[in-house]
């Protein structure tokens, strides 16, 4: 499905025609959002805490409050303040796209929408000049100037998606929480992050429009991504060694395919990509965008396509040009051996005989901090492990007479239990139901410092019960 991003933009604009005829009033469009959510300590996954996040949003139509998805994971109460001083209105999440970092909210109380003036999203954004950033601060609108640095394609803050971004410099402090960015009366984007050197990263309006389009469609294909890596082919000797003569400054070389296990189609390591989607690829991996100039090819997956679309590429392979049909895979964390993110869900775990098993994922890896064994990084970075859907970590052993001798074991990857290969927690549960001659034999990955342990299967249920009580763990598993 080829997107008609700008058509949608026109539709939005048309639906807001009355509002757009008026001058932009930030007080009537910008709102404050308070999110109350559960957060988890992945090292004690049965423990949750409450936290609040405050951020910004903007009305872009009737019953449409636009903000970023950042900070919404685990939310159970979302309240909105308008005009800097109103009571808090309870908001509903109409949809949220953590991959794109966009969320759409609604407030069902009609009174909320009185005197509010939705704004329009810019269908095209400037590449230079000044912008204005707005947010509520202590009941007053704060307006800060920003200067555009550049437009570029980069990775989304919340996922591995690559898309158009806008970077600007501004003196605003503590930004990155969906502060709204305007060019005159047009919304050009929402801030996504800010660095200490006054640099603001902005999700630009054209990208937001395409995400809204996807999420409002009844058959949302989701955003697509390129599941391959490439390197510049600036070295003429490299191209010539592949028989690609007289084509200086063209192409990039494919170095890895299917790392995220999303797509193994079409491309091969060593291919030289000469064109994508009709755009010539230069030796630095850039193409000439008709609207925004020279940009990285990484953004071509989201520029005008959705997942499942076929993008045609010209590649040089085996001394000849080939036209390749690349089926754009949908971005999905869950397909990776070690998923990067686990949004909007409590951490999964299983306690058996005092052994705490957890699926290995990004939040757990980050929670381990400096204690994280480098072997976990290796399994995260290594080429895909064939025949394994995921990895389960024996993250700690809660000491008890039952597991005596294993108290010091932690952060090791499980390979098999009772002869069954362990991909996920459900496999642990299934394997523990099939002991071998009265014992549970747990084997770890071949690279680990310890290879196996054995436990008494007959005593495990009582030991688990005792340990859960002793360590005040409310339930044995969260699967």
């Amino acid at each position: 499905m080829i997107k008609s991003s700008f058509t949608l933009a026109f539709l939005l604009i048309a639906s807001l025609g009355l509002a757009q005829a008026r001058a932009f009033s930030p007080k009537a469009a910008v709102v404050e959002i308070e999110i109350t959510k559960k957060t988890y300590d992945y090292r004690m996954p049965w423990v949750s805490r409450n936290e609040q996040t405050h951020k910004n949003g903007i009305l872009i139509g009737q019953n449409q409050i636009l903000t970023t998805a950042d900070g919404f994971s685990g939310q159970y109460l979302c309240r909105i303040t308008k005009g800097g001083e109103s009571r808090q209105y309870t908001a509903q999440i109409k949809w949220i796209d953590f991959y794109a970092n966009i969320a759409m909210l609604d407030v069902s109380e009609p009174i909320f929408w009185q005197d509010m003036e939705p704004v329009k999203l810019a269908k095209k954004i400037p590449q230079s000049g000044d912008l204005q950033i707005y947010r509520w601060r202590s009941g007053r609108i704060e307006e800060r100037a920003a200067e555009i640095i550049r437009l570029y394609n980069d990775t989304n803050k919340m996922s591995f998606l690559q898309h158009l971004k806008l970077s600007a410099s501004s003196e605003i402090t503590g930004a990155g929480w969906a502060e709204v960015v305007f060019d005159g009366a047009q919304l050009v984007g929402l801030t996504e992050s800010a660095s200490k050197d006054n640099r603001i990263n902005i999700l630009p309006a054209p990208f937001i429009i395409s995400v809204i389009e996807d999420n409002q469609s009844s058959d949302n294909p989701g955003l697509g991504t390129f599941d391959f890596s490439w390197m510049n082919a600036k070295n003429p000797a490299l191209l010539k060694s592949k028989g690609l003569l007289n084509m200086p400054d063209r192409g990039v070389v494919v170095t890895e395919v299917g790392r995220r296990r999303l797509a193994h189609n079409s491309l091969k390591v060593g291919d030289v990509i000469l064109a994508i989607d009709g755009f010539e690829v230069d030796s630095e991996g850039k193409y000439l965008d008709p609207e925004y100039g020279r940009l990285s090819i990484s953004g071509l997956a989201t520029r005008a396509h959705s997942a499942k679309d076929i993008i045609f590429m010209t590649v040089w392979r085996d001394q000849a040009n080939h036209r390749i049909a690349y089926t754009l895979p949908r971005a999905q964390f869950s397909k990776s051996l070690i998923p990067n993110e686990h949004y909007d869900a409590s951490p999964h775990y299983l306690v058996a005989g005092g052994l705490l098993f957890q699926p290995l994922n990004g939040p757990l890896m980050r929670a381990l901090g400096k204690n994280k064994p480098i072997l976990l990084d290796y399994y995260n970075d290594r080429p895909p492990l064939e025949g394994r859907d995921g990895i389960v970590l024996l993250s700690t052993v809660l000491p008890d007479d039952y597991n005596r001798g294993y108290e010091d074991i932690h952060y090791i990857m499980v390979d098999q239990i009772n002869g069954l290969v362990i991909h996920r927690l459900e496999d642990v549960k299934a394997a523990l139901a099939q002991p071998e001659a009265g014992f549970h034999r747990i084997q770890f990955m071949p690279d680990e410092a310890i290879h196996q342990i054995v436990l008494d299967s007959t005593k495990m249920p009582k030991a688990t019960e005792r340990i859960l009580q002793h360590y005040r763990i409310p339930k044995p598993s969260s699967l």
Binding site: S229, M231, N232, A233, K234, N235, P236, A237, L238, K240, S241, K242, V253, T255, E256, V269, G270, I374, L375, D377, Y378, N380, D381, R382, N403, R404, G405, Y406, A437, F439, R441, P446, D447, A449, I450, H451, Q452, I453, V454, L455, D456, K459
Partner: protein, 469 residues
């Protein structure tokens, strides 16, 4: 017996020049280091290996004698951090009585350390108590642990190589401290010293053999029951057999339980009672010389068996330890390739070393577990690109490990050399651990070679000597 041990203790000044691991044709500026040593029988001086490493010139001073004497390194054992020096001028030994090597001191007994620590020119004495005896990592080699004696006698830089004396005999050689521990110095005990001296009797130092097993405590009653063992405190389990130890693979099995080593009972925690101290049973393996056999009593398949396990010095897996010979390198078209090693990693500095990425760390610390062949592999890293118009567009970042050249797998600098010289094409093709690939035009590279070597003042395009004997 030496009545005045201090007369047998010497000061050592080592003028050292180590290699640059990133630009391996270069060497560091000459630096002088201070250490201590002591005279043993046969007109020899014993000191630490780290005191005389990378030595260009060694000067020794007798006790209260201003005359410098030139010494040379006769034997050096980097694994056990011991070395033997000889002094050509026999006058050096006149009036000096050789110190005798004693026995392992008892904990809580007193020792006096002798040496020339930094901060003065005169000999220094510190008295302390033997506070602990156990296995510790030897920092000089980094990837081996041996028996170590801990004392609260102050051991400071410059003390290294000096003796710890008890009853006029040497009961230890001062060698290391440990950051974060106060009033704790470590000395190399007599069993390690004697092993070293016995080893060099044939005129060559072989080193400490390894058994190549990973021994895990076996205290869980269920695991013991599953192996048919009584629930007592005897026997530790072999969890893994390391590479490359073909004889160990032939004779031992995973889940064999070691009940005795050299007729001494092994506890379920892997410890034995060694001269009154509970230490890991590997201390008994360290008593064997290269090629000697150790008697093991094992529990296997429900019954006890006894066998003789020959153990061998194994240097092939030491890329995870510090290297002590000049790194090999090969330069082709301005691309500098050298061995990935702990030293290479260390020379990058902490931040850069960490930024190398987990796949490179895996090459260094884990890949050698996989097979005998890989255990002997020496990964090769692109350490530098010496810029020249012929390679200026080479698009692979330095510090990447080269995995394939011209279609050949690269597991050593010799593999690299062979892959380059056997190529009959117009291009050298390189593939790296990161997945990146690159190519060099051979004719261009060849033309550039001489210019690059001259421009960067490099004496030779390669140094391919075998790192270890």
């Amino acid at each position: 017996m030496a009545a005045d041990p201090e007369k047998s203790v010497v000061q050592i000044i080592n003028y050292a020049q180590g290699p640059n691991w990133v630009e391996p044709w270069r060497f560091s500026r000459v630096a002088s280091g201070l250490g201590s040593g002591f005279v043993i029988k046969g007109n020899r001086i014993m000191t630490n290996a780290h005191v005389v490493s990378w030595s260009k010139q060694v000067i020794v001073h007798r006790y209260q004698d201003p005359k410098p004497y030139r010494a040379t390194v006769e034997f050096i054992g980097h694994d056990c951090d011991l070395a033997i020096l000889k002094v050509e001028d026999e006058a050096f030994f006149e009036g000096i009585e050789a110190l005798q090597i004693g026995e392992l001191p008892a904990t809580r007994s007193s020792v006096t350390t002798y040496g020339y620590p930094a901060g003065g020119r005169q000999i220094s004495y510190t008295r302390g108590v033997i506070s602990r005896i156990e296995m510790q990592r030897y920092a000089h080699i980094y990837n081996r642990s041996f028996l170590t004696v801990q004392t609260d006698a102050a051991i400071n830089p410059g003390n290294s190589g000096g003796p710890a004396i008890q009853d006029d005999k040497v009961v230890g050689v001062s060698f290391q401290g440990r950051p974060g521990l106060e009033n704790a110095g470590f000395v190399i005990p007599p069993n390690i010293i004697k092993h070293f001296l016995e080893d060099i009797e044939d005129g060559k130092y072989h080193g400490f053999p390894d058994a190549g097993i990973s021994l895990i405590k076996l205290t869980n009653p269920a695991f013991r029951a599953s192996l048919g063992l009584p629930n007592n405190s005897v026997g530790a389990r072999i969890d893994r057999i390391l590479q490359p130890f073909p004889k160990t693979h032939e004779l031992l099995r995973v889940n064999d339980v070691i009940l005795e080593v050299s007729k001494q009972e092994v506890g379920s925690d892997g410890m034995i009672l060694y001269e009154g101290n509970r230490v890991h049973c590997s201390v008994l393996f360290d008593e064997a010389q290269h090629g000697e056999a150790i008697t093991l009593k094992l529990w296997r398949a429900g019954k006890a068996i006894e066998l003789e396990l020959p153990v061998y010095v194994n240097r092939a897996d030491r890329i995870s330890g510090n290297q002590h010979k000049e790194p090999p390198y090969l330069i082709v078209g301005g691309l500098v390739f050298t061995e990935l090693s702990m030293n290479y990693l260390g020379s990058l500095g902490r931040n850069l070393g960490e930024s190398l990425g987990s796949r490179t760390h895996y090459e260094l610390f884990y890949r050698n577990h996989q097979s005998e062949e890989l255990a002997r592999a020496k990964p090769i890293v692109l350490s530098k690109v010496l810029k020249h118009p012929s390679n200026v567009d080479f698009g692979v970042a330095t510090r990447d490990v080269v995995t394939e050249v011209n279609g050949h797998t690269i597991n050593s600098i010799s593999d690299l050399k062979a892959a380059l010289i056997s190529n009959t094409d117009d291009f050298h093709r390189f593939r790296f651990l990161s997945g990146a690939e690159e190519a060099l035009n051979i004719a261009d590279a060849h033309r550039a070679e001489e210019i690059i070597l001259k421009q960067y003042n490099i004496p030779n395009a390669e140094r391919l000597e075998v790192l270890y004997d």
